[in-house]
């Protein structure tokens, strides 16, 4: 590696940092005022790029290349800002008083819908944009030629940073944003039209992200995977820089982008006869940057502790099952145990039942951290994936027996959850959520790129269990036993002192600490435990499908889990199980039939969040209560 290539990569890094900064800054501004972490923010970036690559050639035909290019960027920025305003008016406005988790899920639903809309409008292929007229050449610096456009992009970041700073400190609009960031009710009570301010802020944040995306026109193609990858990186930047700090966002973007650029500059190196492509180290490096910053400054470089966020109404006290409940559970267990027999008449039933059993363990383990633990993880699929890949790798590459391979998978998930959990539980609220998502994104990228071990995008094949699990009934009954064991364990723990302490830490960290409960340790342990059981679900999944691909570890899979929990009802222990069953049924029937299943899932989420916030279990409980009240009258 020469000094030349290092410089080249450094400028390249600054250019990437600008794009990343624009997304993170928009995210921060919106969060500051609305207190919503906009999961669809990467989608605005992606849309900016798609609109720009569409608009630039169109305008170019009439106005000439240069006007087309810059007009395309301006048009895309404006279009995305307007879309942002529309989204705020139609959707976000209904969410301001909703619990945090629902805001996250609803904006994630938006991400899914926008992604399918882009698929519908632009098709699945990547689209290349025109190069920047007048900036397609290169400049000489220290004898090295650097692309002009990269230098231009590297400068845009600081320009926007200064512009935003002036906007926030020198204008009344900026003062309003800062005041509303602290106390929006009070802003309204002073006679300021708060609704209009929110729309304007959301349009501003969306526009900045769209601008960031449009600027990438000359550097990278528009692609449907950009929304999530950019979102994951923006979360890393925001967590490192500190939520709400524009300055922090820029510094963190530079830090992350430069570390990545450095790893790319290292290129392919040889150590002890093995060839390493250092470029995949970029992911590990990103993780290390984040880890170091979070250990030293838990709220990021310039961040501060967030005020306590609303978690909705306190859930009613958890009660053990009554006699009828126990009878119902027993009946359900017997029904599932009899599934191999039922399969003689309905061939598809055992397959569906196995999917349901695995989903139930997955959802219940997620519920354990987000219900009693109060920690909404958007990256739970990471541990599902680690369990699945660990199992598959041990079974195929290492040739271990089925129980040993399964144990290896569980161990892998446990180690991953213990490592990531140690960082995550130090954070609260949306910080926690963003970090779990960022970790899951990193795990996904590693799996995707580490072909020697994981098979890359193809995954691992031929994961078949050996005797006595090699028959359909054998595997199913074993999976049922494992899942029931896991579910029983979780339930037992929720009612044990540890579970009570977990809920105590969620309800009031202040009181829990003052009573002598080691809240951080309790949370860490619960996170690791949930990850371990989730890994078991992943291991079962690998054997059930016979193969495993990166899809099982994707953020989408994490969201599936959240939807299951929500569908069932987060305030109930049985909810996630009902939700897992209902979701699996939905997935295996309706969603298989359409190319636009993401949008469909998005709509399901929106309906749930806006209309049935307490899920199936909550709905059933309400019906029962109404009936009791009716009977008493």
């Amino acid at each position: 590696m020469s000094l030349d290539s290092l410089l080249f990569q450094a400028v390249n890094g600054l250019a990437s940092a600008s794009g990343l900064f624009l997304v993170a800054a928009g995210l921060s501004v919106i969060f500051g005022v609305t207190r919503i972490v906009n999961m669809a923010h990467g989608s605005f970036y992606m849309l900016g790029l798609y609109i720009a690559v569409t608009l630039a050639p169109l305008l170019g035909e009439h106005l000439g290349g240069a006007a087309g290019f810059w007009g395309g960027i301006a048009g895309a920025t404006l279009a995305v800002a307007l879309l942002g305003a529309a989204v705020e008016r139609v959707l976000l406005r209904r969410l301001y008083n909703a619990p945090e988790l629902y805001q996250l899920l609803a904006t994630f639903a938006l991400l899914l819908i926008i992604n399918d809309a882009a698929l519908f409008l632009w098709g699945p292929e990547d689209i290349l944009g025109p190069r920047a007229p007048g900036l397609s050449g290169s400049v000489e610096l220290l004898g090295r030629r650097l692309p002009q456009y990269d230098v231009f992009l590297a400068l845009i970041g600081p320009v926007v940073l200064v512009g935003l700073h002036l906007l926030l400190t020198r204008t009344r609009f900026g003062r309003l944003i800062r005041a509303a960031t602290q106390d929006r009710e009070m802003v309204a009570a002073l006679g300021i039209n708060e609704a209009l301010l929110f729309t304007a802020v959301f349009a501003l944040g969306a526009g900045i992200a769209g601008f960031g995306g449009a600027l990438q026109m000359a550097r990278e193609p528009a692609s449907l995977s950009l929304d999530l990858s950019v979102l994951g990186e923006a979360f890393v930047v925001v967590v490192v820089g500190g939520m709400g700090s524009i300055k922090g966002a820029y510094l963190a973007a530079v830090l992350v982008a430069e570390v990545k650029a450095l790893c790319t500059a290292l290129g392919v190196i040889e150590i002890a006869g093995y060839t390493f492509n250092m470029s995949w180290l970029t992911l590990v490096a990103e993780f290390l940057v984040m880890a170091v910053v979070l250990v030293l400054r838990p709220h990021g470089l310039f961040g501060r502790a967030l005020a306590a966020t609303k978690a909705g109404e306190a859930e009613p006290p958890l009660l053990p099952l009554d006699r009828r409940g126990r009878a119902l559970v027993l009946a359900a267990i017997l029904l599932f145990a009899a599934m191999p027999l039922i399969g003689m008449f309905f061939r598809y039933a055992p397959v569906l039942a196995l999917d349901m059993v695995i989903a139930a363990l997955f959802a219940a383990s997620l519920h354990f951290v987000m219900g009693p633990g109060g920690m909404a993880s958007f990256g739970h699929a990471a541990y599902f994936g680690l369990g699945a890949y660990g199992t598959a790798f041990a079974a195929t590459q290492l040739g271990l027996s089925t129980p040993l391979a399964f144990a290896t998978g569980i161990g892998t998930a446990a180690a991953g959850a213990a490592l990531f959990g140690w960082f995550c539980v130090r954070l609260e609220g949306v910080y926690f959520t963003m970090l779990t998502l960022a970790f899951a994104q990193i795990v996904w990228s590693i799996v995707y790129q580490w072909e020697d071990v994981t098979g890359g995008s193809n995954g691992l094949f031929g994961v078949w269990p050996d005797w006595p699990f090699d028959s359909r009934a054998g595997l199913y009954l074993a999976a049922l036993a494992v899942a029931l064991g896991g579910l029983a364990l979780l339930r037992r723990i929720v009612f044990a002192p540890f579970g009570l302490a977990l809920r105590a830490g969620r309800d009031s960290r202040l009181r829990a600490e003052a009573s002598g409960i080691p809240v951080a340790r309790v949370r860490w342990l619960s996170f690791a435990l949930a990850g371990t059981l989730c890994g078991a679900a992943g291991g079962l999944f690998a054997f059930a499908k016979g193969s495993i691909s990166p899809e099982a570890i994707s953020v989408g899979r994490s969201i599936d889990g959240l939807v299951m929990v929500l569908l069932g009802g987060v305030q109930s222990l049985m909810g996630p199980l009902l939700g897992a069953g209902a979701f699996t049924l939905l997935q295996d029937t309706v969603m298989r039939e359409t190319d636009y299943w993401r949008a469909l899932l998005g709509l399901v989420i929106l309906v749930l969040v806006l209309l049935f916030p307490f899920g199936i279990a909550g709905g059933l409980r309400r019906v029962a209560r109404l009936r009791r009240a009716g009977g008493a009258r």
Binding site: A179, M186, A188, A189, E194
Partner: protein, 249 residues
Amino acid sequence: MTASPVPTAMAPMLEIDGLDAWYGEAQILFGLSLTVGRGEAVALVGRNGAGKSTTLKAIIGLARRRARRLALRGADIAALPTHAIARLGVGYVPEDRRIFTELTVAENLDLGRRTGASDAAPRGPRWSVEEVVALFPNLGGMLDRPGGQMSGGEQQMLSVARALMGDPALLLLDEPSEGVAPIVVEQMIDALLRLKASGLSLLISEQNSALCEAICERAYLIEQGELRWQGAMDGLAAASETAGIFGKI
């Protein structure tokens, strides 16, 4: 009688009839009725959780509410959003002061200032920064200081001053003496007496009998969201002593 859309000269400053209000899902107020005359100072007393803060929030539109009548100078405000009510001349001084701690004192005052020629609705007396500083001299020396670096008493003064910058005709004060040193309470009493003398109407939620007795003519006692007693300030002590709510310990 229905509310006329135009403020009338004769109507009282604030008329509330049959007010229900909610905090989240829980209903806090049940059919509350009260009136504040022009230039009158009225106390709203009751134990914590009785619904005093919710009453003020319902008036300014920060709590979900429903009323047979909710009118400011005869104009119906029941369907208006918070900012529109504020622009009609209602100043709100919340519990806990709610100063913008990141902004300086001057910036806090600036945000309270009414802007735009478009809202020419009749309000109360006009205020400038110099005038509010004359009322609270402590603020004068700290205009460039961030709100977060002020003492609780100074923040309380800033909160009142900020509300005055919007030229209100009616000032809603939520526990202006809570958590404030006795000496600052005395200064606050002096300032509020001067505001009252200038013609402002005041609705004060309080647990401090000294402040109410010094300023208010009439009082409403609420308990569990319902009106329990109303009358002249003198009668309150007897009424509330039996209820065990107000006064000395």
